[in-house]
Amino acid sequence: MDSKATLGSIQKAVWDGKLPLQITLAPAESRTYDETDPYLISYPRVSYLPSLLPKLRAFFSASLIDPTTSPHEGWFSFEGVPLKWHYPVGLLYDLYAGADPASKGGTDTDLASASDDDPLPWCLTIHFSDWPDEELVRLDADGMVMHDAFINSVKEADFLRNGNAKGIMTLSKEDSSGLWEAVRDVNLPSFQRISNILLPPPSQPFRNVPIRLFLPLPPDSGAPSLKVVQSPIPPSILPSTASATSIAASQSILSAARGPQTQTIGSALHTLLPHLFPSRRTPVLAKPVLHGAAVPMGRPLRRS
């Protein structure tokens, strides 16, 4: 399979993905309560909500009861749940909006979702006061907190792939800031140039595949509204761990014959969440969603 062209086109499609947002000023902060016109925008799924704050602060400035607030004091909520700004908006939508993921041959669900409870545009509320300190990390005026959170995530991925974070640590200061600016400004060519410096060549196997699972939790669970699951997952599974009950002699023969198996989405999910994903091949109780689309369980983890 000509993976290069395919991967490139998939990445472009992901970066081109947009989500219609309808953002309303919190009635308690508005001079006209709930009569304020909403702000509408088609926003990239890979973008972060705080990038909208300067525009939103300007748009709502005439309506604000308290005109002294700054853009970086702005925070978003969906149905009363404060949204963690360090997750891309597409991920937040997939977690909270309760929309069915796009899937091949999924016309039935598409029709169903269009007829009754269409989640689009995604309706969010913007607040400029009463920061929810128990739930959200505060932003700063210079955007350093966001930049830092992003780089920490990149470092973690780098560490999982290589066993150290030297790639990101030795990146020039210009490229390091450039990587964040490329994501912030949704500049794919610039992002690709810098991320190619970080990624090991395709011939070199990853030590672990960076994967983080977000589980939406029911609102009445009493806990935070989502759960994050993460553990180092190697790109292939050694046969010895796959057949633990075999006796030593036959196991070594089998191992030699079979060789390591490729880690699939299904096998990784089964390892991380065995109760939610009892099968490695079929989604039984839950289905994995990536960039708004259901992903097949049998796909190799690294290439997908």
């Binding site: 300190d133 739930e135 959200l136 350093m144 907190v145 973690e156 994050v228």
Partner: protein
């Protein structure tokens, strides 16, 4: 010296820690503090919490806001009813926040967890003033927690210094943390090729990371009889 067998073993993959080793280290360290006496260490509480995701070593202390509480000064904090603080903390961390505190002081809650990615301990901490719900800002951390000799070094690394804002992996609430990406290198430099026990690893790590954030280990913890075997000079 009473130590559990697991604590006597040396680490399987220094400078990395497994979940079992981290748990053994936390429990051994808790025992050590209890032997010396909670009052002697000047912390208002130390506990080990077992969670599905692993153990959490939780240390809480108060810092009086008077002039004697300079970061380089004595770290006794205010001594008011530590017994009741201890009890309030026992099951419900939130109870601590509601407990009235008679003098102006800062409360620091340190949580040490094992990072599943980096496989080293990570220090998360929250800083609150009296019973104020809002956590304090990073400048307060530098002012009251970071000793002078480390201020420059901590401020000058990374995007915004060695202290990041993030979410506590267990509670999901905002917290400061010290990014662990350099921990393995630092541990290797300090304890090169040594066969350290899990507890010795944790103590070295606390000296390395905790020390920079006002979590100094009192010397009472290191009387000759209770000193863990480092098998080599530190």
């Amino acid at each position: 010296m009473a130590s559990s067998p697991s604590n006597q073993q040396t680490l399987s993959g220094f400078p990395l820690l497994t979940a079992e080793e981290f748990d053994a280290a936390c429990c051994a360290f808790l025992d050590r503090v209890h032997v010396v006496g909670d009052a002697a260490v000047g912390w208002s509480s130390i506990q080990v919490h077992q969670r599905a995701t692993g153990s959490i070593l939780r240390i809480s202390r108060y810092i009086g806001l008077d002039s004697s509480s300079h970061p380089d000064g004595p770290w006794q904090g205010s001594r008011m009813d530590q017994e009741s603080q201890w009890e309030a903390l026992e099951d419900d961390p939130e109870a601590l926040i509601r407990t009235p505190v008679p003098v102006a002081c800062l409360q620091v809650l340190y949580d040490v967890l094992l990072s599943p990615t980096y496989q080293v301990p990570v220090l998360y901490f929250q800083l609150r003033e009296d019973n104020q719900p809002a956590p304090l800002e990073i400048d307060t951390v530098y002012q009251y927690l970071v000793p002078d000799q480390y201020k420059k070094e901590l401020r000058n690394v990374g995007i915004m210094g060695g202290i990041s804002f993030g979410y506590h992996p267990d509670s999901g609430t905002p917290a400061f943390f010290v990014h662990p990406c350099q921990t393995t290198d630092a541990m290797r430099r300090i304890a090169e090729q040594q066969c350290v026990t899990p507890e010795a690893y944790l103590i070295i790590w606390l000296g390395l990371v905790g020390n920079r954030l006002g979590l100094q280990l009192p010397k009472e913890l290191f009387t000759t009889e209770s000193m863990p075997k480092f098998q080599g000079a530190m």
